[in-house]
Amino acid sequence: MPRGSEERVGNLRPRAKVWAGFRRAGLASGALATLALGAGSACAAASLTVMVTRSDGTPVPGAVVLLHGPPGSRPAPPATYVVDQVNLTFTPDLTVVPVGSSVKFPNSDAVSHQVYSFSPARRFQLPLYRGTPYAPVKFDQAGIVTLGCNIHDDMIAYLVVTDAEWSGLTEADGTWAVANLPAGEFRVEVWHPRMREVATTLEKHLAIADATAGKLDVHLMRPLRPEPLGHKPHSWSDY
């Protein structure tokens, strides 16, 4: 696996009958991606497994993978999602939602929260509340939305609003797999909240032929930010 320098990234020779084009954003970020395609099963549909690893080769769970399909791919339908607030923590703290989806922000804590985002993709604020007094918030523009609570600065969560047809988070082994893909040209984006790569998201174009099982390896070149220390005891406060 070529690793370590951008020159070697540029010299990558994609195997099999694929075209592997690196978007400049992905290259400049210093992250590496390699694509390998193997013989598929008898059925015509293709599949893809994306594996995200740290610079030391260990898997990165919880990374967002967005897969944009060839023209004509069926868009992921918008839906209503829930980001709860429990024990002064957003739950879940990372959600991928299709463009046009709505998100409910109930507050299950005994204390009030004041949820906000000043991310360009969606600016909003929910005045101090407990329970579920507000209608779901609609997200019409693709992008990363950082959620915070104006009362409890330790609370942070992310929504990845996307027009990708397929999306998900990598598992504990760092992989995310999708099957029943049509043949054609795809664009893969990878993002993680603790990622320190120069580009906001890592992008890669790839072509997948009928009946192939593709595997895309994404190596982060910079260490992830350390995990948050975990929420503090309830009685702690800011002074």
Binding site: S112, F118, S235
Partner: protein
């Protein structure tokens, strides 16, 4: 000031809506001490509990109310009792109105009006300005809790970098305040101490008519000149925080208030602190504070320099925590017209263990030892040097 506080409370309670909260806390201690007569009882002993206060003692009884009203306003009041025979019993440590507008493009402002703590301490992180690491505070932050309070208006501006993909958050804060003219009298006449008792707004420190600190009133406007402080902080993720603060109460050292028998003490200091936390449950805190205070009675000009440093290390695992802290402190009476000088040097060593049974019940044990050389003890007919030790067992219920 009474009017201001009463106004704040009345406004807050009148406007408060359903979203309010009441915290209650009962903190009892079992104490063994060989300390000299405490500064609380007219002595120059450095411990909160001296050898006459062994056995079962009140640590703190506390009630705090917090209410949100409107979209962006919050009001709170924190009331405590530290000892049944204090001059004032239940009294206010903090009360203020806070305006919390939403962040805009990564920046956020906050405004506080009322009486609140200065953003100096990196130890005091728990409700009621409590130190979660050890029962007793460092010399620096004991003094902050004793003599300093922002009674006025505070503005802070925060850059929320971690909300924008940065590893850092940073902010600046400043305040204009009054009613802090006696600040400095304790550090000059008594020196540093290490304990957890916070002075309340209408409190009197020490017993009236007794000893070097005869029932001092600490929050009073004497000269009509507002003071200010200005500070800055920067945080690296949730791992490292650094704080700086410059304080100047701009007191007129010639001003005298016969009502409280005290001068306006011109007090200025700088404080710098660093806190580091690791994923293994370790916390390291280092803080330094240095400044001077002066008064100018008709008999001459009196100036004291003061400084203190501490290092704290703490390790938490599950409900357990062990902590230790070393304190170094001193005052120098650098200018005086009635020698000998009233000054001191000392060190403190504190070690403790605490256990959280659940969200409500907490217990802790702490050993505190202070070695000090206080010149003013000779006026009391005592040796200037003292080696005082105090062992406390704390049981606290909070809801």
């Amino acid at each position: 000031m009474r009017t201001l506080v009463a106004f704040a409370l009345a406004l807050a309670s009148a406007a408060a809506q359903a979203a309010d909260a009441l915290d209650l806390q009962v903190d009892l201690r079992l104490v063994a001490s060989d300390g000299r007569t405490s500064y609380l009882d007219g002595g120059l002993g450095k411990l909160r509990f001296d050898e006459g206060h062994d056995g079962l003692q009140i640590g703190r009884l506390r009630a705090a109310w917090s209410g949100d009203f409107g979209e962006r306003w919050n009001a709170r009041a924190d009331v405590s009792l530290w000892r049944w025979d204090d001059a004032t019993r239940f009294d206010i440590t903090e009360t203020y109105l806070e305006f919390r507008p939403y962040p805009a493009d990564g920046w956020r402002s906050r405004v506080k009006v009322g009486a609140s703590y200065l953003p100096v301490s990196l130890e005091h992180r728990a409700a009621g300005w409590t130190n979660p690491y050890l029962i007793s505070s460092s010399a620096i932050n004991t003094w902050v809790g004793e003599e300093l309070r922002t009674i006025g208006a505070e503005y802070s501006l925060e850059w929320l970098g971690t909300r924008q993909g940065s590893d850092f958050d940073a902010g600046i804060e400043t305040a204009v305040f009054g009613w802090n003219d006696p600040a400095g009298v304790l550090i000059a006449s008594r020196g540093w101490t290490l304990h957890d008792r916070q002075t309340m707004l209408f409190d009197k420190m020490g017993q009236p008519g007794q000893g070097p600190v005869p029932g001092r009133v600490l929050f009073k406007e004497i000269d009509g000149r507002p003071g200010y402080w200005a500070g800055a902080h920067v945080r690296y993720l949730d791992r490292v925080e650094m704080r700086y603060l410059h304080y100047d109460n701009r007191a007129d050292p010639e001003a005298y208030d016969p009502g409280i028998n005290d001068y306006a003490w011109l007090t200025r200091f700088d404080s710098l602190g660093l806190r580091l936390e690791t994923s293994g449950g370790w916390t390291f805190i280092a803080q330094w504070l240095a400044g001077n205070t002066s008064i100018e009675p008709e008999t001459g000009y009196e100036v004291w320099d003061f400084d203190s440093t501490f290092l704290l290390v703490s390790k938490a695992w599950g409900p357990h925590r062990i902590s230790a802290r070393a304190d170094w402190f001193g005052t120098d009476h650098v200018q005086t017209s009635w020698p000998p000088p009233v000054e001191e040097d000392g060190t403190g060593f504190t070690a403790g263990y605490s256990y959280d049974f659940d969200d409500h019940w907490h217990c802790a044990v702490e050993f505190l030892q202070i070695r000090s050389d206080v010149a003013a003890r000779m006026h009391l007919g005592e040796p200037s040097r003292a080696h005082e030790r105090q062992l406390q067992l704390q049981v606290r219920y909070a809801r």
